[in-house]
Subunit: 384 residues, 2 copies
């Protein structure tokens, strides 16, 4: 499954020795065509890792033939030397595969501020090229893990015989060292680069962009979508958008489910907003409130912390007409206490908070996690 579920793709994953643990840490994904159309979405952090800068340029003409990915080092904040290393990774990969280095994307993840061991990376690219296979998708997904407890893949098929598959890494966007989220999606549908771009941006906007586990935006986030056209089918645009969205949503939920240290998966649903932008702003403010995240960890339905988070935004609402439900119990009505908080059962892993701004028809969902002592522990011990 994974990135090789769709026809026309080869992949592999190997242990190149970048990680001290000896775990797999280098992956290749190759598009054998006939099409090489591609699209990508990158972190909006202004401090961008060298591989992100390289891949942006490689994608400029809407074609990608291969992707080389490594875990064990983010190659971020590494200056000119890091930029050279990202280029060398692309060039070495291109030479092994006989493709154009400017059609080779590079993704790195792990600790930032440290240069990659390029001798090991280079040898690993050779070893990974030798192991490329139409069944290599799982190996590739395993090799991009950092603190992920499981590797993450998803697949969806469309009418007429085409498929969208993908892999992701990331412990809920709260990966320590900002080791970040990486996603590669592949399809054998025959779709032009501009159409891929529009489809991917729309899908990411309502899936990965709505995951906000700890409010920390990474330097390396990358989502790539490669189309081989190998199915020979040009799908209906809505069908294709639906399949891409399905795979993105599946992977996004897997990221949240595997968030480091988390004991709860929390959906913040904002309804009755004057605009989708307002709904996202309010959802994100609630999702980022450390006090609320601690309360939910302690299974305390502390709706006052929800209101105080809403109150910091510039969304359209009347403070005296706010309603909040926690797991279906409307504990806050008209900005004051509603149903008894004793009715709220927070013993399960999944929690849904619903905020009704009562100011319009727009809505959005943000996915987050609770804040736990384990999160503190994992993130205070990562690089030392």
């Amino acid at each position: 499954m994974s990135v090789t579920a769709a026809q026309g793709f080869l992949a592999s994953g190997v242990a190149a020795g970048i990680k001290e643990s000896g775990d797999p840490d280098l992956a290749l994904v190759v598009n054998r065509g006939p099409s090489r159309a591609a699209a990508g979405v990158f972190t909006s952090n202004r401090v961008q890792a060298a591989p992100v800068r390289w891949s942006r340029r490689a994608l400029a003409d809407g074609r990608i033939s291969a992707v080389v990915l490594n875990s064990g080092g983010a190659n971020a904040c590494t200056g000119q030397a890091g930029a050279v290393d990202a280029r060398l990774m692309a060039e070495r990969t291109a030479r092994e595969l006989g493709v154009d280095p400017y059609e080779t994307a590079v993704c790195s993840t792990g600790l930032i501020g440290v240069l990659l061991p390029m001798d090991k990376v280079t040898a690993g690219i050779g070893a990974a090229a030798a192991r490329l296979s139409p069944e290599g998708g799982e190996d590739a997904a395993v090799a991009i893990k950092t603190t992920d407890s499981v590797h993450k893949t998803a697949v969806a098929s469309g009418p007429g015989g085409w498929t969208v598959g993908g892999m992701a890494k990331g412990a809920g966007m709260l990966a320590p060292g900002l080791a970040t989220m990486l996603v590669v999606l592949t399809t054998d549908a025959d779709v032009s680069a501009p159409a891929l771009d529009a489809t991917l941006r729309q899908a990411v906007r309502t899936t990965f962009d709505r995951v906000d586990s700890d409010g920390c935006m990474s330097t390396n986030d990358t989502v790539l979508l490669l189309a081989s056209g190998a199915s020979g089918v040009t799908p209906d645009a809505a069908d294709f958008a639906g399949a891409v969205h399905t795979v993105c949503l599946d992977l996004a939920r897997q990221l949240t489910a595997d968030a480091e240290g988390a004991s709860k998966e929390i959906e913040v649903e904002v309804v009755g907003a004057a605009s989708e932008g307002d709904a996202v702003t309010v959802g994100r403010s609630v999702a980022r409130n450390n006090l609320l995240k601690c309360a939910l960890h302690g299974e305390d339905p502390n709706w006052g912390r929800v209101l105080s988070a809403i109150g910091t935004t510039d969304a359209v609402f009347d403070p005296d007409r706010l309603d909040v439900a926690i797991n279906g119990v409307w504990v806050c009505r008209d900005g004051a206490a509603g149903e008894s908080r004793d009715k709220v059962d927070l013993s399960g892993r999944r929690i849904r908070i619903t905020v009704d701004l009562r100011s319009g028809d727009a809505s959005a969902v943000i996915w987050t996690n609770d804040l736990t002592a384990e999160y503190v522990h994992e993130n205070s011990a990562y690089s030392s």
Copy 2:
């Protein structure tokens, strides 16, 4: 000391039974004049507690004769009933003291979403009025504590025989239940209400407003400055501004030092900014980065997390020309690794992070704390 360090003020603190613990929980501060000039700064949270709404109106004409404060309940998100209770507190206080209820400010702190036990509050106001004294400042400071481990007071004197004193409560702005920061400052200087207002806003802007322990803005934050004029001295404006700033800074640092669960006091100093606004924006983004706060708790000089936090802002900077020092060691130069991180000693309680944006001459300091398992514990167990 405290709010009775300046001439013309009486204060008291009593245990009214609002707190189940039986600890002191109700305080009065009375200005005996001759002047009743006053200024105040309130939370910018759009969800505002009933006492905040009341006190804003009371302050509208620049005169305050008395302040009644309670801990044990924030009277926030309590609807129309809460608004009535805040008014009753002012009216009862005014009747006991023979002053105008519309010159009586009300401050409440504690759990939000719960109505106050008004029978106990009313009786407590009577008891507190009976104990008013020119030495009551310490008792008042004790009575407004919630999870504070110590009560907080400060005083500064100016040339010519005038004094500024004050008290504060708040566990670093990360008080659980958003029980919030309350501050009352008093002076016997003879200063008009508009001048008090300008002085207070300027002082708060660079002291309390720069404390950002956990990014959570409260519904009850209030800072009041009352002037009795009892010294008969009209101070030089700069001298007076300096004294008010000194007291505010002293109290702000005491808040950060007492932050719940914190093991580190962190100063984020941003220099070389194109504007003070940019410096504050960058400082706040760094101060709110949970991953960095975890790293500093673990005594890990993880400068990459500083850069990733800077990168989320719209401040003027070039990512390849960012310098970062931690406790004086420039671990990041030109956006990449600088001096060895092994040189950084983070074993002490105080940590200073310096960010040089190399884009101008403006600067700002934000005070924050580390993120600890104790913070999670205290804030997941408060209301249950």
